[in-house]
């Protein structure tokens, strides 16, 4: 099945703002699409139909009253289930939070509502964002809308699939080691991981705090920019939030790449499948055709990224996930004393992958091992950041595959953690460095499934990133579904 995306968010918002359609009608269309298709895809953990209708009615009231309904007026949005929504379930894909209704909204959710967007549901995810396939969700896997025997990627697989399936034009995800970009690539949509600190983490249930970033999914680069503009900017509730407000990104998207320099990162081509590599080269050619200088570049330090990440992220996670102890919220499994209760609750409430990472992180931080593992990984992080800094003196952007392969079959890697972890190999370095990166769909692989190419840029260079992404996106429109580039050669 080749999904048909919903209309663009910008077109929908314009129509609602001008009164040519109503938010109520747009939201009903989204709810109907979900009701029709989500039984098979399972992009949502919770559909908030009543809430969504109420929010849509409020947008329509504002339009009718002549008030500004906001830049995303009436646009249905899927919100990853690790973002707190006041009064609505927020499970993180885990039994341990089943039934918990946060008493507050995440900053990004509040900003969505402020902008007139309508939260239609909470999207499925790997448990506590730990996974690359959305199979570790306690509520069952999400399926790839292109081929429901395949995974959508993860951990924000529900958000990616909801956009790819045309349920919603926009979604929010979170990206700790690739959890926005990799599912965007596998589902054929645009996914942006902003600069660390560009988007507030307040209300994002933490996985690995020094790496987590919230970001948009969309069907187009300009829509991704539009959503980024809404959610980004300084938040006094997040100490790691940057107060350098990014310019309105949506307005620079069409500026092209003439005069920019793009490095094709050879380390990321090395482990990737040949059909994926071919697409990356085509995307590079498209950038060159649009006036960028393109050459291959090697940054050997990124090869240590995966190992460093799988020590740092679990270490932080082991601490972040301590609070699920059965005392204040969520699941409790009764026991005679408090230690036994904590243990019974966590043992019953967490799935295998979460336990595995808590164990790994606890070990990496424990006395006797912290220097060999955790502290060593932090030094590797320095190496990678310095290598990027050097590379970005020569290049404005780096280009490579988002994922080494197209979507793999459900169950294929579930029992082999290391194989699963390897699917994040191309996305992790940007998280370690805190840099922005975006995945843009670029045709399909030999199996007819989407390929994503990744563009990376230095901190706060989202505008450069989005300009290049738009160029790649335009070239991708000329690529046919059988994997043959059309027109790129002619354009040169």
């Amino acid at each position: 099945m080749r999904p048909s995306p919903a209309r663009t968010a910008s077109a929908l918002a314009d129509a609602v703002r001008s009164g040519s359609t109503t938010a109520a009608a747009v939201v009903e269309e989204s709810l109907a699409a979900i009701a029709h298709g989500d039984g098979e895809v399972h992009a949502f953990v919770t559909v908030l139909a009543d809430d969504a209708r109420r929010q849509a009615a409020e947008v329509d009231r504002r339009v009718a009253a002549g008030e500004d309904p906001g830049p995303l007026a009436g646009v249905p949005v899927a919100v990853k289930d690790n973002l707190c929504t006041r009064g609505a379930p927020t499970t993180c894909g885990s039994r341990i939070l089943e039934g918990w209704h946060p008493p507050y909204d995440a900053t990004v959710v509040a900003r969505l509502r402020q902008a007139g967007a309508v939260v239609v549901g909470k999207s499925n995810m790997d448990e506590f964002a730990m996974g690359s396939s959305t199979e570790t969700s306690a509520f069952g896997p999400t399926r790839n809308p292109w081929d429901t025997s395949r995974v959508p990627g993860g951990s924000s697989g529900g958000s990616a699939a909801a956009v790819a399936a045309g349920f919603v034009p926009l979604a929010l995800g979170s990206d700790t080691g690739g959890s926005i970009r990799q599912p965007a690539a596998l589902c054929g949509v645009v996914g942006l991981k902003p600069t660390y600190g560009a988007v507030s983490r307040y209300g994002l249930v933490a996985f690995a705090s020094s790496l987590d970033q919230v970001g948009p999914f969309a069907t187009s680069v300009v829509d991704a920019a539009l959503l980024f503009d809404v959610i980004g900017g300084h938040d006094p509730l997040d100490s790691t939030s940057l107060d350098r407000l990014p310019p309105r990104m949506a307005s620079v998207v069409g500026d092209g790449v003439d005069g920019l320099s793009v490095g094709v990162l050879t380390e990321h081509l090395d482990g990737a499948a040949p059909d994926v590599v071919r697409r990356v080269h085509e995307a590079a050619e498209a950038c060159a055709a649009a006036g960028a200088s393109v050459e291959e570049v090697s940054v050997p330090e990124v090869r240590y990224g995966l190992s460093a990440y799988y020590l740092i992220a679990p270490a932080e996670a082991s601490s972040n996930l301590a609070r699920y102890d059965g005392v204040r919220f969520g699941l409790r499994v009764a026991a005679d004393d408090v230690v036994a209760m904590n243990t019974a609750t966590r043992t019953a409430g967490f799935g295998a992958e979460v336990k595995r990472r808590i164990m790994l992180g606890t070990y990496a931080l424990s006395a006797g091992y912290v220097d060999a593992y955790y502290n060593q990984a932090l030094r590797v992080r320095t190496l990678i950041a310095e290598a990027f800094a050097t590379t970005y003196r020569r290049f404005d952007l780096l280009l490579g595959p988002t994922s080494p392969t197209t979507a793999f079959a459900l169950g294929a890697k579930l029992e082999d953690p290391l194989a699963m972890y390897l699917s994040d190999v191309c996305t992790i370095p940007s998280n370690l460095a805190g840099h922005p990166a975006i995945s843009v769909p670029f045709g399909t692989g030999d199996d007819g499934l989407p390929v994503g190419v990744q563009l990376m840029a230095p901190a706060l260079a989202e505008n450069t990133l989005l300009r290049a992404a738009a160029v790649v996106e335009a070239a991708a429109a000329l690529v046919d579904g059988d994997g043959n580039a059309v027109g790129v050669e002619e354009q040169r």
């Binding site: 307040y202 933490a206 509730l237 100490s239 601490s319 301590a322 204040r328 919220f329």
Partner: protein, 487 residues
């Protein structure tokens, strides 16, 4: 006096860890009120309940109070970071405590005791407090409780943990250090110093060694020291226990012990044989605090004089008569400084009231309601003390009028004295009454004249009785002496 009381040949080594709650309006990492004694779980938010998704944001005032404490303790005020100290406990909502670890805001300072000794300050760092647990069941204590109830109002209240060097050598010195530290904390405005409300909590690390040895013995940490008195007692008992263990050929185990006030002994809480593994790592949700010189000096300039300096200033009022450490006058000076009543003494002395009188009235009578005394108009207080100094009112009368002043928050002492019927007796009236007493008791007068000084009291009593307490004892004594000196 140093050493282990009752055990010659042993030396006592004590270091104290003091947790001080800061007097901020809000908690360390969220905007919830920092207030003691409210209804349970009413001062809570996502941050201090550790709800998923919440993030800490550091309170500027707490940082500045910590810097003020560091300045008062002569510490280096340094760039600092926060770490997570990971352990599970139900009163700790995130199951980790945000605390400063290897980069504390204050390090390497000292505190001067009233006896002049200097105690090293290793560090004074910021961290968050835990919630409060009530144990339900037969005992009301943690042991034997059926279950417990947790209130998170205190969770996230800012603390400064002040760690002394192991420089204290006696129970009295440990007590003196804690008292002086408390006075400093109060003076900086960082804390109310209320040990009974838990806003200042003291743990003692105690070890003993043979006199003359330079190695440290195995130490035990004593918790639950709720007053300065129990601190001194606990240190003394623990030292004696350790000496007895060692003298009978045993070894002291490193452990945490609890001071049992009722039994007057320390008891084992937890053996430290299995070391805690706190898995410290840098708190990724916070960024470093890097004070620059301007910020440091702004904090230092805002600091009022510290107790040691204020005690020296009061002592200087006595001129050549030094205030002996440990004496009654030194206690009075300490009380006045502790209660912040220095100004009363200084103002009275400036208006000619003798220093000893000003100090005594302030430390003994004004101190009974220090809050009211600090609010008293200085003119009222000084005028009253002058009436005593000039003999217009007796000491007893002054005390009565002072109580009226404190109750009313001020007033004209002369008028209050009149309302009380404390008519000032003129010197003629006193002289007449003394003459009457001499006439009524010729034998006693003869003995007094021939040198029996103790009869001063007899005559003074007689005059007091005749004047119904309105005569000034000193004026009577002076008149008696004048008459005796007459040929």
């Amino acid at each position: 006096m140093s050493g282990v009381p009752g055990h010659d040949g042993w030396e006592l080594v004590v270091g104290l860890e003091v947790h001080c709650e800061l007097k901020t309006a809000t908690k360390l990492f969220c905007g919830c009120p920092n207030s003691f004694g409210d209804e349970p779980n009413t001062n809570v938010c996502p941050v201090c309940l550790g709800l998923p998704g919440s993030l800490p944001v550091l309170n500027q005032r707490a940082v500045e109070l910590a810097m003020a404490i560091g300045t008062a303790l002569h510490c280096d005020i340094r760039p600092s970071t926060f770490h997570r100290k990971n352990y599970f406990y139900p009163d700790m909502p995130k199951d980790y405590q945000i605390s400063q670890y290897d980069e504390p805001i204050n390090a390497d300072g000292w505190l001067e005791l009233p006896d002049g000794a200097r105690v090293g300050i290793v560090r004074a760092h910021l961290e968050e407090d835990t919630g409060k647990t009530t144990h339900a069941g037969a005992s009301g204590r943690i042991h034997g409780a059926d279950y417990s109830l947790v209130d998170y109002n205190r969770s996230g209240v800012p603390l400064v943990e002040i760690v002394s060097a192991p420089d204290l050598r006696s129970p009295a010195q440990a007590r003196s250090y804690a008292a002086e530290l408390r006075a400093i904390l109060v003076a900086t405005g960082a804390s109310d110093g209320k040990m009974e409300e838990g806003s200042m909590r003291v743990d003692a690390n105690v070890s003993v060694r043979r006199a003359g040895s330079s190695e440290l013995g195995t130490r035990c940490e004593i918790k639950n020291l709720n007053s300065l008195r129990s601190l001194a007692h606990a240190v003394e008992h623990e030292a004696q226990r350790q000496v007895e263990v060692l003298e009978s050929g045993g070894v002291v185990r490193q452990e945490t012990r609890h001071w049992d006030e009722d039994r007057g002994a320390t008891v084992t809480l937890r053996s430290k044989e299995e070391a805690e593994d706190y898995r410290y790592f840098l708190e990724p949700d916070l960024v470093p605090v890097v004070p620059d010189d301007g910020w440091r000096s702004a904090v230092a300039e805002a600091l009022p004089p510290m107790p040691a300096a204020r005690r020296r200033k009061l002592g200087a009022l006595f001129g050549d008569e030094p205030v002996e450490p440990g004496g009654a006058r030194s206690d009075q000076v300490a009380t006045v400084v502790d209660l912040g009543l220095d100004e009363l003494v200084e103002a009275a002395v400036a208006e000619g009231v003798p220093a000893a009188l000003a100090l005594a009235r302030t430390a003994n009578e004004a101190a009974t309601d220090a809050d009211a005394a600090r609010r008293l108009p200085l003119v009222s207080y000084v005028a009253l003390l002058r009436m005593e100094a000039t003999g217009e009112l007796t000491a007893t009368q002054v005390k009565t009028v002072l109580a009226d002043l404190l109750r009313d928050g001020g007033g004209d002492p002369a008028e209050l004295a009149r309302e009380r019927g404390f008519e000032a007796l003129s010197s003629e009236a006193v002289a007449a009454m003394v003459a009457d007493a001499i006439a009524a008791h010729p034998d006693e007068w003869g003995r007094y004249r021939s040198g029996e000084d103790k009869l001063t009291g007899f005559f003074t009593g007689a005059v007091m009785k005749a004047s119904r307490g309105q005569a000034d004892g000193k004026a009577v004594a002076a008149e008696l002496a004048r008459r005796r000196a007459e040929p």
